[in-house]
Every structure is written in C-alpha cells, then in structure tokens.
Symmetry: C2
Subunit: 454 residues, 2 copies
C-alpha cells in the first residue's frame, strides 16, 4: 500500500470510522457523529468503541480492524498518547485520518515524544493524516464535518464555491460562522493544525482540480516548503481565485503564532513576495478575509485601479474617496465627455465630479444612468456605488436597475450602504442580484481593492 | 438687538416657526413638523404659510411677524431665493434660523448672489443662522428635529451623551441611523453645511458648557478660523472627550469636499497638528467614527498603549495582535510573574503569552481570573478580550464576570467577538454591563487605539 496523493478520500470518504464514539451528549466524538448524521453524507459510518455495541443507533465496532474492510477515513478525538497505537492497530485497513486531539508537538516534553511516534507510524503504514491539533474538515459537498462545535454555537454555511484552508481552527470556525450569517456558501473548509503530514499545499493541489471550488482562501501562519507552495499556488491561481492571509506580522504576532501551532512564523515580506509570485491575492486581516470571500464570490476581478464613486450623500462619498486614497485606488477625475453627457440630463445641483454626487434628490434612474455612462467607456475599471436610503425618491427597484447597468458594463461594481435598520434590510435586494453590499465606506473600498490586486 | 453668542436658543428654542409649512405628506416642512410634534418638544410651534389657516391641527400664521412675539428659531425649507427676504421681513422678531435649503454658495452664478444677500441680511438684522445647505439640528434633549428624512428611513437615536458636529449632512444622517441601530444615544447633532454664520467652533463653545453632552465628535471638511478652533477645542477637551475626523485626505478627497460644500479642504497634516494641539482624538474614517462613539461612551481613556490580548482561539488572537502592530499598540510580552501565577491555576495547554490563549477549554472563570491578574499590576494599560463562543464551557455569565474584573481594575477593556447568529445575539450581554463589543479583530483594535490617542 502506497500513501495516496489524491486526497479525495479525505474530503469525500466512502467510509468513516469515528474512534471513541459514544452517545454521551457534548462529547467531541458525539458532536461529530451528530453532524455527519445530520448532513447529506451518503457513505458508511462506523462508530468505534470497545465499550459499546451500538452508538446513535448504528452498529459499534471494537476497533477499525473489526470492521473487516478498508476504511477511507478515521476520526480521532481521543487523548494524544492513544493515537499512534490505534493507527498502528488499523494498519492496512485505513487510508486516512483526521486527528483533532491536541497535546502533540505544540506542547513540550511528553507531547513531543507522542508527536514523533505518530509521525513514524503514519509513515510506516502509509496513512495520510490531517492534524493533529485541528478542527479537521467541514465539507459541504460530501457532508463530512469534524468541526466539533455544536451548530447551535457555530453555524455551518450552505454549499457554495468558497474553500478555506486554515492553519488556525478558531479562525476557520469564526469565518465559517460569519459566512453562514452572511449567506455565503462554502465547498470545503480545512483546519489543518500542526500539519505533521497533510499541509496547505497538499490541500491546494486537491482544490485545484476540485470542480466544487471556485474561490480558495488561505489563512497561513507558516509554510514549510515555500518552493512547492508557490508552484502549487501558481497552478491553482491560473484556474481559480486564490486569496491568502499571512498571520503573524511582527514581534507580537510571531510569538503568538509560535505558541499557537509550534511553527515559527516566517518574515512577513517573504510571504508577500511568494504570494505575488504565485499570483495570489494578498489580504490583510480578518475583515479582508470575510470581505474578500464575499466580493470574489459575487464579482469578477478588476482590470485596473481607476474607480468611479457614485453617491447620493457628499460626506459619505468623500469618506469613500479618502479610503480609496489610503488603499491605493485611483479616484480618477470625471472626464469632460461624461460630465457633458450626464450634465445634459441632470439638474445643475448634481455635482459632476468623482465622487459623482447625485444629492438627496437622487432617483433610481439617475443612479443607473450614471453607472452605465461611467463604466461604458475606457475611463474607469470599476465602480463603488454608495446607496444611502435617505432620498425619498429612491425605491427598492434601485438594486435591479444597478445590477442591469453593472451586467451590461461587464465591470465590477460594489455597493457601499452604511446605516441602520431600513438600510440593513435592503442589503438582500442587492445581493440577490449579485451586487455585494458593504456596510462602511472602508469595507467597500477594501473589497474593491481586493478585486484590483494580484 | 445684538446677535446672541450663547446658542442655547438654537438647540433648545422656546418657540419654533416652520416656514412654508403644509399638511402635504412628504414635503420637507411637513416631515419637520411631524418630527417635532412626535418628539418631546415642549415649546411653542408655529406653522408659517399665507396659504393656510391651520397646519397639522395648529394655527398657521401668514408670516413670522404675524405671530406678534419674538421667535427663537425659524426653520426655512423654501427655495433659496426667498430666504433673505423672509428673514428681512421677520427683522426684530427672530433670533435664529436653520436654513436647510441648498442653492447658495455651493452652487455658482445665481446661488452666489443669494448667498451674499443672505449674509448681508443676517448681519444687519442680527439673526444667527445654521446652514444653508444642511440638515440642521437633531436634538434629543429638547426634541428639535430638522433632519428632514422620515424616521422610517433614518432612525433617530435615543437620548444619550454623544453630540455630533458635522459639515456633511449625509455623514451625520448615516451616523445617527447607525448609532440608533447600535443602541447608542445622542444629545445634540448638528449638520451645519455651508456655515455662513454658525460654524463648528460656535457649536463647540456651546457643547463645552452643555451638561447633556459627554462626548463630542466632529466631522470636518474645512475650518475657516483655525486659531479660534484650536482654542475652543482645547477648552472643550479639558472637560469632555472630543474626537475629530478630517475628511478630504488628498487630491481626490479635496476635490470631492470642494464640490460638496464649496470650501477648499486644507492640507491634512495641518489639521492633524491642530487636533493634537487641542488634545482632540484624531479618528480616521467612518468606521472609527462609529467605533469611537461607542468606545468613548462606554470606556475611559487608556493611560498607555500596552495591551493584553486574552482569547480562546489562537488564530483570532494572532489576528488581534497583528492589527495591534499595524495600529501602533504595544503587545507587551506576558511578564514572568503573571505567567507563574496563572500557570499555577491553569492546565499546561493554556498558552501563557500575549495573546494569552485559554484555548477551546476556556471557562468563564478562566477569563475573569486572567483579566484580573493581567490588569491589576503596572504591566498593562488596557485589555482586548476575544470572546469566541465555540468553547462549550463558556456561558452567558461570562459578560458579568468580565465586567466585574474590568470594573475592579479600573482600566479600559474592549470585547472582540466575531461570528454569526449565536455570537451576535450575545453582544447585548456585554454592552448591558458596559463592555463595548466589536465584531472583528480590526474593529476592536481600532476602538482600543482610539482610547490610547490624544
């Protein structure tokens, strides 16, 4: 038996064994069993526990060998010291494992010894391992879910095109929960933890050929084989949108990342250069992670940085322009030709500049006409449209009209719509038509900026 | 009659005349009448319109003179060209005016002439004027409300300690609506527009002595008399928290601000120096405007920049640490003494660093004990506590325990709690106890940073 290189059996296993399974509520293996049973998982599920004959209504086996056939994936949520022995016992009957347990190399003393033992065992018996010290895999395609937090606390996103590879479990969990609340869908989410075997690059290779994945987002504390990562990421970014966040910016961050997974986070600039070489979109921080997921799912990349800002409120337009300056977007002056064309149709108090301020007298049609006119030529690469709902002439039809203009232009458009209840209730109108909405000027500009990077 | 210097009659007028009032729904003067009638305004309200004998059930007067007594405040939402004549006609009977109408100096040609005429009239007849081209005043203390957008679209905040002075109407409106949704209360909100008379400094002088105002926030595009502004702001910042946002950062912003209110925005750095001289907290952008309002309302200023980060998720802790590095906060290493004290009570897998990672096994008590221990000595000035709700041992009692620790320490604490539905529903638990919650690592760090500035 050779260690498998195609990791499909980890994401879409024909059979899953949950080691240490029981009916006890709140226990990690119990939560994992519940999640898989509640999902659309269509393969065989085996509880493993010598103390029980049945768990959650399924026949329970004393060991993996006792199943009597090769199992694609075993999930280990048992004390670290037990894991190497259990994998050894399953030798020949097990292709892959997700070890969620902590207490390996990220600790010290006893943990280090168990870590070495686990490395030796999986090498000898050709078992591919995700983890240890991780949340494992949430796979909205296959129904696999080893994220051992109850869905009451952390919601699982619907199925969609985003796949997340994260060295941090808490980051992956929090992002998933936030994406679920935003209505954004995922394909595969991996928290790979200490990566004694399967790492970000192995997963990238899998996602490159994965039809379910359209956007790949990485949260990286450290990469061990930089050359292989850049090669793999370059292949992936030729076919999909790839974003990456390098955590651990400086002294403080490095020390935190070191404590967290036991890996020394490399220097920030080296990662930036690697991302650039691999044509990966670099993102900065949690906000851009979430905003990037949304904007890349809903909009295409921008051909350049020249942005037209259309608003019905001067101050909010200025705030967007200021954020563009900070983020390096080009708030190019409104060309004379567009001023003349729009000026012929608008009252004199409309401020024909960039921002283009339609004022509190703005109508749905003014917005749509402005967007069409500004994007149709070669002057602008993308648009940020501020939809402030104060103007009484604006109606819910605005979203559809803007979506039509944006679609006809074939250029990216993001909506900036800050405010309270009335405004927040209208977000869905735009997003149902494919226009991503951001609730602050800065968030809209960060999202627009993501589209111009890489 | 001398022009009044104390602007109390503008914010808390004993009598208000609404010029051009009618019962027509949707008309600006009608919305303003409705808002005042629905508020707690306890003074006399006079509709003015020669075409009606009653409006909204109140006796309607043909002119301000016809009222027969001096009116504190007249609100003008009529065409620009009519305003100077109407104020002239009211000479001797009118102390102040809010002119919401546009079409004055921010335009050109005819607008410039009317602007000059209005300036001459109010100087001659000693009438103090807010505007023109503004939303005017929303005063949660007196009930005055000239923000002529229906509360269905833009909610009014409850009464509280924040007062906002904004050169931009759309910025003030949007911020108000957002503060209302966040449950934050305001005292006085002024959109002063073209400021042909009353400007930011006049309002600052009023707010300095206003008992209802605890926090002053300014949105500034340009200041005409810098010396007077710095003097006034210095007086105010000795008694209250004062934050200011300078809009119009660079080429793009300047041009937008110029188009917006007709004032040339000065160079950014000059304003930064002025803010510093006046001990004003400088804020950058809309996000910090809102976050600053929340954090200054709920927490005291920090004595320094040394921050302890306490988390139950490593990756989110690293994200906070990274944002601290970017924002200039000092993520000072955890002192040996605190390590020893906390280490004696915690299991070995708790990562005793900064961030202090309590891991997914965190309990309410671990959080409270850590916060108490880290803040009680001289090592840290403030804390950012990441509350991720995955760990099953965390309960809703966490908020109260943390609030007690924070209260005992007497140092500022902000909560970072990113996530979806379960997490968002718990925000109120913390904020009811006086701990401000921010939904991203970057937002929590921006807020913490605001507390360390100035």
């Amino acid at each position: 038996m050779k260690a498998a290189k195609d990791l499909k059996f980890l994401f879409d296993p024909a059979s899953i064994a949950v080691v240490g399974a029981s009916d006890e509520p709140g226990k990690i293996s119990s939560i994992i069993m519940d999640s898989i049973l509640a999902s659309n998982y269509g393969g065989r599920l085996y509880p493993i526990n010598p103390a029980h004959s049945s768990v959650k209504g399924l026949e329970c086996f004393p060991s993996i060998q006792a199943i009597g056939s090769v199992v694609d994936l075993a999930i280990f949520a048992v004390p670290a010291a037990l894991v190497p022995g259990l994998i050894k016992d399953a030798a020949g009957n097990l292709k892959g494992a997700i070890v969620v347990s902590g207490g390996f190399g990220e600790g010290n003393g006893a943990g280090r010894a168990v870590d070495k033992e686990l490395r030796d065992v999986i090498k000898k018996y050709k078992v591919r391992v995700v983890g240890p010290n991780c949340m494992g895999i949430y796979d909205a395609v296959s129904g696999l879910d080893t994220f051992f937090i109850s869905p009451e606390r952390i919601k699982r996103p619907v199925r969609g095109g985003i796949s997340i590879l994260s060295q941090s479990g808490s980051f992956a969990l929090t992002a998933m929960d936030e994406l679920a609340a935003e209505g954004l869908g995922v394909a595969r989410v991996v928290s790979y933890g200490n990566m004694i075997d399967v790492n970000e690059t192995d997963c990238l290779d899998f996602l490159t050929h994965d039809k379910a994945t359209e956007v790949v987002v990485l949260y990286i504390e450290s990469v061990e084989d930089g050359r292989r990562f850049v090669e793999s990421a370059s292949r992936c970014s030729r076919q999909k949108q790839v974003m990456a966040l390098k955590a651990g910016r400086a002294g403080a961050g490095i020390s935190a990342a070191l404590l967290h997974t036991g890996a020394l986070a490399g220097r920030f600039e080296i990662y930036r250069a690697a991302f650039k070489k691999a044509s990966i979109i670099e993102i900065n921080g949690y906000e851009e992670f979430i905003e990037g997921c949304k904007v890349l799912t809903m909009q295409k990349r921008s051909a350049g940085k020249r942005v037209i800002i259309i608003t019905d409120g001067g101050g909010v337009g200025v705030a967007v322009a200021d954020a563009c300056v900070v983020m390096g977007l080009d708030v190019a002056p409104l060309p004379k030709k567009i001023k003349e064309t729009l000026g012929a149709g608008f009252p004199g108090f409309v401020a024909l500049g960039n921002p283009l301020d339609l004022t509190g007298s703005a109508t749905d049609k003014w917005y749509a006409d402005s967007l069409t006119e500004c994007l149709k030529g070669v002057d602008y690469d993308l648009a940020i449209v501020c939809a402030l709902w104060g103007p009484p002439s604006l109606t819910d039809a605005l979203a559809e009209l803007l979506a039509k203009s944006a679609g006809a232009a074939g250029k990216p458009v993001v909506i900036c719509s800050p405010g309270g209840d009335y405004t927040r209730a209208r977000k869905r109108l735009f997003e149902d038509k494919g226009l991503p909405v951001f609730s602050t000027p800065e968030a809209a500009v960060r999202a627009a900026s993501v589209l111009t990077r890489g």
